[in-house]
Symmetry: C2
DNA sequence: GACAACATGTAACCAGTTACATGATTCT
DNA sequence: AGAATCATGTAACTGGTTACATGTTGTC
């Protein structure tokens, strides 16, 4: 069976710990937005095909609350496939940033409108930064608390760190741009011949 | 007619200067990868529908070389639609970063394999950084050279600057991660119980 | 004459979203 | 009884890619 990127994302999530479709959905929404986004409606069918291909094993867990959940774990084949894929090189990230397309058109707006936009963009990325930093702080605390908890693994630590640096970089760009634009006169000036 | 994001990307590109489908393809590939990627096969049909909707006007230009090109410019309606869209808020960027998914699985690899990966990732982003910095330098030079060239517009300057900061941030993360991983022993250590 | 660069387009396919649909358990 | 949360799934649609297809002009 031919696997696409989403399949590998799910194998990667399950490799960290056995997870259900619901868990994977939450995990991606909370910690994966800066490298992979997916809705539950694409996740469930993908899990089914991974199980059919023998790369995942599932077990019904009658959860404490809500309806029983299907908990997936990797089969040895699944782990092999994942490991093999991880060792291949990949291309550059692909980003769809509608906000930046609008930035490209800032010359159509007034200075005040531009400032408004940049402030809103800054707030969004700053919120993400605060969130990620909170996650990292909590992880560091529980790691320091004792060796009884699973020791922090390298992969999740690096990707979280990447999320923090990415958000910080975006906030910095907003600040720099705001400083530039605020130095402009209030109304756009026509090119004085 | 209902427009999607790609339509607005194209309107934005054409607003900067009249462009053909080929121009837009090149422009996005060279300067737009960090906020919007698109193949020519999605661009040409989108241009056709924009023209049919009266948002673009086209003229046949018998180019100096190659077959004649269809040069598009904005109609007043097109400009209106674009301006209106630009002033609406957008959501956060969406990124698909297969490399980071692999980073997530670094615990499956040996230290040397991890170092190899990080060095390759670093090289890719460093190359992009050098390229963008070159573009910016050339722009600054021609801006300084004389007022005969069109004065640099805010939008393109800010998006290019964003590309530089994004690439730099990724390179920094690679360096930080490499420093961390190089501090580890050569073979992964089992948890000493 | 072959190849590279310029230039535009179509068709088949794939991956994803939005919206729809269902069901269990707990809390108020 | 109703709402919130947990949990899983399907169907219709959208937006995109890969591969196919074509034609011109200039260069080796």
């Amino acid at each position: 069976m031919k696997l696409n990127s989403l399949h590998y994302v799910l194998l990667a999530g399950i490799e960290q710990e056995p997870r259900s479709g619901y868990d994977l959905t939450q995990w991606l929404a909370r910690l994966g937005q800066h490298y992979w986004a997916a809705e539950h409606s694409s996740i469930y069918p993908a899990l089914q095909s991974l199980e059919a291909a023998g790369l995942l094993l599932s077990s019904e867990e009658s959860g404490l609350r809500g309806r029983p959940r299907k908990l997936y774990r990797l089969s040895s084949q699944g782990r092999e496939r994942l490991k093999c894929w991880v060792n291949e090189p990949s291309g550059l990230p692909e980003t769809r940033d509608e906000q930046l397309v609008k930035v490209l058109c800032f010359d159509l707006l007034s200075r005040d409108e531009i400032v408004g936009h940049l402030e809103r963009i800054r707030a969004q990325h700053a919120a993400k930064l605060v969130y990620y930093e909170g996650v990292m702080e909590r992880r560091n605390e529980s790691a320091a608390a004792g060796a009884n908890v699973t020791p922090e693994r390298l992969g999740p630590a690096l990707t979280l760190r990447r999320g923090i640096l990415a958000a910080r970089s975006y906030v910095d760009w907003c600040d720099e741009s705001l400083a530039l634009v605020r130095g402009f006169p209030s109304q756009p000036v026509d090119a004085a011949g």
